[in-house]
């Protein structure tokens, strides 16, 4: 492997690992906040127990999310010094402001967890809100850098020099709004379905009608409502993201859909694999005219095909599969959450069928797969550019060697962390059962945050 390829693989692996913890780190605080607010409304302490247990899980995940994020941030400079040189000159603001978001999250997370008993209930809510906002802001701001890579703004290149720098114009680059919204909404999807997965599993394990069953059912209903809202919004906004690509990065949309010839009334290809030789998507279901409609809200819309670009500027064609995976899972999640709510609230059925639980158990991991697919699609679909039509990835890479050995070391560390974090979570929740927390809530009058044992 050449060095650029190793650098890309190493950075991609780091991001793919960080994103798991980061996304849950954005999504879960909103669930915790919802539980806390439900408690204030209903005074049913089961919601506090929920909030406490999710907070514990969140704290453990932070233990991996923060160091892997630190790795990601520093690796950007180590592996892509050419890229960060441009970012430092033109686009330093999101990184800078992100630091403040990290501080807000770190300060108030410690306050919420370690000072829970010493602060007033309203201050608990305020702290938690700030944690959730801090996490959201981190995600939005880092996404801003990503969107700058796709739609760079705020500078000009003259004779190879960067001139006319306007950092705020770079900050408010055209892609910022749509992209940031999509990342935020999809993170809340993940938060909801992770909870849904666990609750569904626990409901299967516990006897119908038992106290624990009811507790987990309560958690499940919260997560289904949140999941329905956010998966729906994600899809609407995802549609906007696709229209946005149509306008700003047409070759990415063309590769996502396996479209070679520029045409109006373009068909939408679902599934299958793009074949470069025959210039078609093999084994796909084609919906005539649909792509044109999706791209511009009209069948007349002309969608640009790959043949309009020189082949060395094509993104890899397998991103078609990644795009399908994300959209497919997104649609499935909407279906799962709405059908559960209809079953329970409209049809007023008492019990869910067993296979529904089995699907729900899969929904959390599926939502994470959608996140991974979406990001790899977005980053790989930008190739060969690291900053679209400004800087090539290969030109931005480090010129140091030793990358191979370092990659192996990083992968070993990620593996150790993955095994450890799962073991710690399993250990903690096995030792601290829901029943223990009920008892603590009853005895200590809700003072159950700092108890570790």
């Amino acid at each position: 492997m050449d060095d650029v390829l190793i650098a890309r693989s190493l950075f991609g692996t780091t991001m793919a690992f960080h994103i798991i913890f980061a996304t849950i780190g954005v999504g879960l605080p909103l669930m915790i906040l919802t539980a806390e607010l439900l408690y204030q409304k209903t005074k049913n302490y089961e919601y506090v127990v929920m909030a406490k247990r999710w907070t514990k899980a969140f704290a453990v995940l932070l233990g991996v999310g923060i160091p892997t994020g630190t790795i990601a941030g520093v690796q950007l400079s180590l592996l892509w010094p050419g890229f960060m040189e441009v970012i430092g000159r033109v686009m330093p603001l999101p990184f800078q402001i992100e630091i403040y978001a990290f501080f807000v999250e770190a300060l108030f997370m410690s306050i919420y967890v370690y000072a829970a008993e010493r602060i007033k209930p309203w201050m608990r809510i305020v702290s938690l809100t700030l944690v959730a906002l801090g996490a959201l802001a981190s995600a939005v701001l880092i996404t801003n850098v990503h969107s700058f890579q796709g739609t760079p703004a705020g500078f000009r290149i003259e004779n190879g020099e960067i001139v006319d720098v306007d950092p705020w114009a770079a900050f408010f680059n055209p892609g910022f709004g749509v992209t940031a919204l999509h990342v935020a909404l999809s993170a809340y999807v993940v938060g909801a379905f992770i909870v849904a997965s666990v609750s569904a599993y626990k409901m299967l394990k516990n006897k119908y009608g038992s106290r624990l069953y009811k507790f987990h059912q309560r958690a499940l209903m919260v997560s289904l409502v949140m999941g329905a809202i956010f998966s729906f919004l994600t899809a609407i906004n995802g549609h906007e993201s696709a229209q946005f690509l149509h306008e700003y990065q047409p070759e990415k949309l063309a590769a996502a859909e396996g479209l070679f010839e520029t045409q109006s009334h373009a068909p939408l290809a679902i599934g299958g694999f793009t074949d470069k030789e025959t210039q078609e998507v093999k084994g796909a279901i084609e919906i005539p005219w649909a792509l044109s409609f999706l791209a511009g809200n009209s069948f007349e819309t002309e969608v640009v095909g790959l043949n309009d670009f020189p082949e060395e500027l094509w993104p890899p064609l397998y991103i078609h599969t990644l795009f399908n995976l994300m959209v497919g899972i997104g649609s499935l999640l909407i279906f799962i959450s709405f059908s559960g709510l209809i079953w329970k609230k409209l049809l007023k059925k008492e019990r869910f069928p067993k296979f529904y639980f089995l699907i729900l158990i899969l929904s959390g991991p599926l939502s994470l797969i959608a996140i991974e697919a979406g990001w790899i699609f977005a980053c790989t679909g930008r190739q060969p550019w690291v900053i679209y039509r400004v800087l090539k990835t290969a030109e931005a890479a480090t010129e140091a060697n030793n990358l191979g050995v370092l990659s192996i070391l990083f992968i070993i560390i990620y593996f150790i962390l993955a095994v450890a974090v799962v073991s710690v979570l399993l250990y903690y929740f096995r030792k601290n059962t829901v029943m223990d927390d009920f008892k603590r809530a009853e005895e200590k009058g809700l003072l159950l945050y700092r108890t570790n044992d």
Binding site: P81, V90, I99, F103, M109, Y427
Partner: protein, 348 residues
């Protein structure tokens, strides 16, 4: 003051704050490991009570530092990124192990021992590698081939100066953190733990001083330009040594303020911090205008003026917003006497 000078001053401020916070942080982790088996003295609990709420905040500072470097001096980023690939990656790997297992050790109580050992040991190596960034910027371990700077690891790791820096960083970490924990346990009325940490500070203080002299001595041979520039500020260096000695008195003498108590740890923490401030000012001043000697200066590496203005504005706004948060945090975890004394007045 030129903008570039203002920028490097801000950066230096960040480095200093991070250095102090990180020594406390990594040191506390190490002590909580060393005293793990001594249930009687509470020394481990004191270290943990300090560590649990603070490590996240400290970690954010290192990210802030990296971000400040590439947003203020983007043209230095290219060379720094290339030469620091290996040491930087080593720091990242250790930091990941350390942070994660620190959190795990507080959650999986039955496995506390092995988890604390992993985080304590990886944590104490980190300051040694972190400080290596300084000798690397002195320029003598960098080979430039075809215009690309590369770090010569062999030359770095056979240099006495590098080892003097490493030794100095680790001793300082242990010394400063034992002072701070002595103060923290005194406020918490944990007199057994207090005695333990005071004793550690007494042992480590002189060793740290000796290490500082060793750094200067080896510097003279390996980076004479820096050494002679530092000596131009000899009066300041002497003031700094005076503060160090005052700090030493605070550890050895009986307290002026309280009868029957040996040591004034608060005084020592303050004077030693001032001492580090002066010494690092002298070092930083001598290092200027070079970021990396002799090729990269602050003026050549400085960012676009528009970006600088924007970044500087966010510093001011961000600080104004965060400051009350820091105060609140401080009052909850460092000042709340009831919280600090909770263990002394019966277990939770």
């Amino acid at each position: 003051m030129t903008d570039a000078l203002l920028a490097i001053t801000v950066l230096w401020g960040f480095v200093f704050i991070y250095a102090v916070m990180a020594t406390m942080d990594f040191g506390a982790g190490f002590w909580s490991m060393i005293y793990l088996n001594r249930d009687r003295t509470q020394a481990t609990n004191i270290a943990n009570r300090y560590l649990s709420p603070t490590w996240e905040v400290t970690n954010t500072f290192i990210v802030a530092l990296v971000v400040a470097i590439y947003s203020l001096f983007p043209k230095a980023t290219y060379t720094l990124g290339t030469i620091l690939l290996v040491p930087g990656s080593m720091i990242l790997l250790l930091l990941a192990l350390r942070s994660a297992f620190l959190v795990f050790s507080n959650i999986a109580t039955e496995y506390r021992k092995p988890l604390t050992y992993i985080s304590g040991i990886s944590g104490i190596i980190i300051p040694g590698i972190l400080i290596s960034v300084l000798p690397i910027t002195h320029g003598h371990y960098i080979d430039v081939v075809d215009g690309v700077a590369n770090l010569n690891l062999q030359r770095l790791f056979t240099s006495p100066n590098e080892y003097a820096f490493i030794g100095f960083a680790i001793c300082s970490t242990l010394f400063l953190s034992s002072l701070l924990l002595a103060d923290y346990s005194k406020v918490s009325r944990e007199m057994d733990a207090y005695k333990v940490y005071l004793r550690d500070a007494r042992i480590l203080g002189p060793i740290t001083l000796a290490m500082a002299f060793l750094v200067m001595y080896t510097l003279k041979h390996e980076a004479a330009w820096l050494y002679s520039r530092m000596l131009q500020d000899l009066p300041l260096l002497l003031v700094s040594v005076t503060f160090f000695i005052m700090g030493g008195l605070g550890v050895f003498l009986p307290s002026f303020f309280e009868k029957g108590v040996r040591g004034m740890p608060r005084l020592s923490v303050i004077t030693i911090t001032i001492q580090y401030l002066i010494a690092s000012y002298v070092y930083g001043k001598a290092h200027l205008p070079y970021i990396i000697y002799p090729d990269i200066t602050i003026h050549a590496a400085f960012t676009d003026p528009n970006s600088f203005r924007a970044v500087f504005t966010t510093y001011i706004v961000g600080f104004a917003i965060l400051f009350p948060g820091f105060i609140y945090f401080w009052s909850l975890f460092m000042k709340d006497k009831k919280y600090l004394r909770q263990a002394a007045e019966g277990k939770e």
